[in-house]
Symmetry: C2
Subunit: 334 residues, 2 copies
C-alpha cells in the first residue's frame, strides 16, 4: 500500500503537509508519495528525521489555488499536484490520495480523472460533526452535489453508513434524513421522495432528524442534499468558533470571571479542539473508485496525518468495494 | 390599538401567556385581548394585579395542539384560540395577534383567515439569530414555505429589510442571500436565479453569505428558502444549547476547573440567555395583512411580553403598509 499526499493544498501547503505525511508514514509504517514542487518539498524534508521511511516525491510544477474555478483548473493545470495525484491514483501508483486543496477541484477531478465507483450517480462529500457525547457523527453530502435527485440521497445513505461502520467503528449505524420535521410527510419535494427510498434501503434508517437534534449524538449518519449539508457544516463551524469568541468576550467583563476563566481555560481549549472541524481531519469524498480524503483547508500537520490514517484504513479494509457491494443491494431494494 | 394574545399556545399555555400579556399591557400602556378558555384565564388573572389595565377575554373552547396537522386544525377547530384570534384580527377587533402555538397552523391560518398582504406570494417566517456583536440578525424564511420560487426570496428580502429597519432599528440594513459560496454563480438553481433578482431589488444587497459568516454580525438580514432557513434556525438552537452542555461537562472534569466554573457561571448564564432563541421572542410572520407575531413554543412570560412589544411596534409604525409599498417597488424593479 502507498498513500499519496497533495503537498501544495490548503492554507499552509508544504509547511504542514510534508511533516504531517512523514509523521503518518512513521506511525502507520507505510510508504507515502508527496505531490508538489520537488525542490520545496526536499527543502522541507531536509529538516525532518526520516530514517527508515519510504517517502517518494513526484515533481508537479503547477498548483491549483483555493479560489480557482474547479473544472477549468483540473482541465488546464494537468501538471498540478492534484491532477497528477489523481492520475497516479487511477494508474495504481498510489492506493489513496489525501489533499487539503480546492474542494471543488477535488470533487471534479476525482470523478473525471479517477472515475466513479459502481452504483453512485454523483460524488458526495462526507464530514464529521461534534456531538454532546463527544463522538462525531457523519454528514453526507456536505457540498459535492447541489440539486440532487432523491435516489442520490439513498446512495449517500448507503456509503455514509459503510463509512460509519468501517472507519468510525459504529455497529449498525443509525442513518437519518435531515428534515424540518420528524413526520414522514414533512419537508420539501426532495426529502419526501427520498424518505420513501430510504425506508427500503439496505441501512438502519431511523427516520427524519431535525437540525436541532444533530448535536444530540442520537444519529450516526445524517443525509442531506449538498446545499443543505454545506450550510450545516459551515454553520456548525462558524457557530462553534463564534461561541468560543463570545465566551471569551464575556469572561473578560469582570475580574472574578477572568480568574475563573484562567482555571477553566485548559478544559475549554480541549473542547475547542474537539469541536474544531480541522482537528477531525479526513473527510472522505465518495465517488472515485479509489479512496480520496479531503482535509480541511486550514489543516495543520496533525490533521494531514489523520487524513492519511483514514486513507490507510479505507484501503486496508477495502471500504470502496464494500460500498459498491451495498450500493448493488440498494438497486435491488428500491 | 389593541393586541390579541393566544393564551393557549406554546408549551406553557395560560400559565405564562397570561402574566406575559398583563405585563405587556402595563409596560406598553395598551389594551390587550386574551383568546382561550375563559374560566382558566380568569383564574390565572385572579392572582395578578391588573388595576387600571384594559384586559378583555374572548372565550374559545378549542385548542390547536403543537403536533396537529396545520391545515386540518385551522379548518376544523373554528373555535380554537388561534382561529378565533385570526378572525378578530381580520375583523379589526384587534390590530395584531401574538401566539406561541403551532407554527404551521399560524402560517396557514394567517393566510387563509386574515388574507395576504399586497405583493407577497407566500408567507415567510422571520427569526433572529445571535451574532458575536451581541446584536441579533434576521433570517427569512425560517420555515413557512418550502420549495419557493426565486421571486419569493426577493420578496422575503424586501420585507426582512423593512423589519430590520423599523423594528431592529438598523439603518440601511445589509441584506444577503444564504449560499454555499460567495461568488455570484455559486449555489443551486434557486439561489442562482434569486441572486439575479436580489441585485435589482430595492434593498441594500451585499451578495451571498456563507452560513459560517452568519454569526459574524456582518449582515443584518439573511434570506433563504424555508427548508434551509429552518435547518439554520434549528441547528443554531441545538448547537448553542449543546455547546453549553459540553462546556458544563468539561468543566466538571477537574477540581480547579469546577472552581473556575463557579466564577464564570454568571457570565456564561448571561450569554446563554442571549443565545437562547426564546429570549429574543417575537418572530414576525410575513404574509397576513395585519401583524402576526410568533413566539417560540418554549416561551416564558418575558418572551410573550416581548412578542407583544414587537406587535405593538408593528402597528404603531405601520410596518405592514411600508412592506406593501416596498414590495410594489420590487415589482417595478425586477
Amino acid at each position: 500500500m502507498r498513500i499519496g499526499i497533495d503537498a501544495m493544498g490548503g492554507d499552509h501547503g508544504i509547511a504542514e503537509a510534508v511533516p504531517g505525511a512523514v509523521e503518518a508514514a512513521r506511525t502507520l509504517e507505510i510508504p507515502v508519495t508527496l505531490f508538489g514542487q520537488a525542490e520545496l518539498i526536499e527543502e522541507e524534508l531536509r529538516g525532518i528525521n526520516r530514517a527508515g521511511l519510504d517517502i517518494s516525491v513526484v515533481d508537479c510544477r503547477e498548483v491549483i489555488e483555493t479560489a480557482e474555478a474547479p473544472l477549468q483548473a483540473i482541465r488546464q493545470k494537468k501538471n498540478s499536484s492534484m491532477a497528477q495525484g489523481f492520475r497516479s491514483l487511477r494508474d495504481g501508483e498510489i492506493d489513496a490520495f489525501v489533499s487539503a486543496g480546492n474542494t471543488g477541484a477535488l470533487v471534479v477531478g476525482g470523478s473525471l480523472i479517477v472515475g466513479m465507483m459502481e452504483g453512485l450517480r454523483r460524488p458526495g462529500l462526507a464530514t464529521t460533526l461534534p456531538t454532546v457525547h463527544m463522538q462525531p457523527m457523519v454528514l453526507v453530502d456536505a457540498g459535492a452535489s447541489v440539486d440532487p435527485r432523491p435516489e442520490q440521497l439513498a446512495e449517500y445513505a448507503v456509503v455514509g453508513s459503510i463509512y460509519a461502520e468501517q472507519i468510525l467503528k459504529r455497529e449498525s449505524p443509525r442513518v437519518a434524513l435531515v428534515n424540518i420535521g420528524v413526520e414522514e410527510e414533512k419537508g420539501n419535494e426532495l426529502t419526501r421522495k427520498a424518505y420513501a427510498l430510504l425506508k427500503n434501503a439496505p441501512i438502519r434508517f431511523v427516520g427524519n432528524v431535525e437540525a436541532r437534534e444533530l448535536v444530540s449524538g442520537d444519529v450516526d449518519v445524517a443525509v442531506a442534499d449538498g446545499f443543505v449539508g454545506n450550510v450545516i457544516l459551515k454553520l456548525a463551524e462558524g457557530f462553534g468558533l463564534g461561541m468560543f469568541k463570545m465566551i471569551q468576550d464575556e469572561i473578560r467583563q469582570s475580574f472574578l470571571s477572568r480568574v475563573g476563566g484562567l482555571l477553566v481555560r485548559p478544559r475549554l481549549r480541549r473542547l475547542k479542539n474537539l469541536v474544531d472541524y480541522a482537528s477531525y481531519g479526513g473527510a472522505p469524498l465518495f465517488g472515485p473508485t479509489s479512496p480520496v480524503i479531503k482535509c480541511h483547508g486550514s489543516s495543520k500537520r496533525d490533521a494531514i496525518k489523520n487524513g492519511v490514517r483514514v486513507a490507510e484504513e479505507f484501503v486496508r479494509l477495502d471500504v470502496i468495494h464494500r460500498m459498491e457491494l451495498r450500493l448493488g443491494e440498494l438497486v435491488e431494494h428500491v
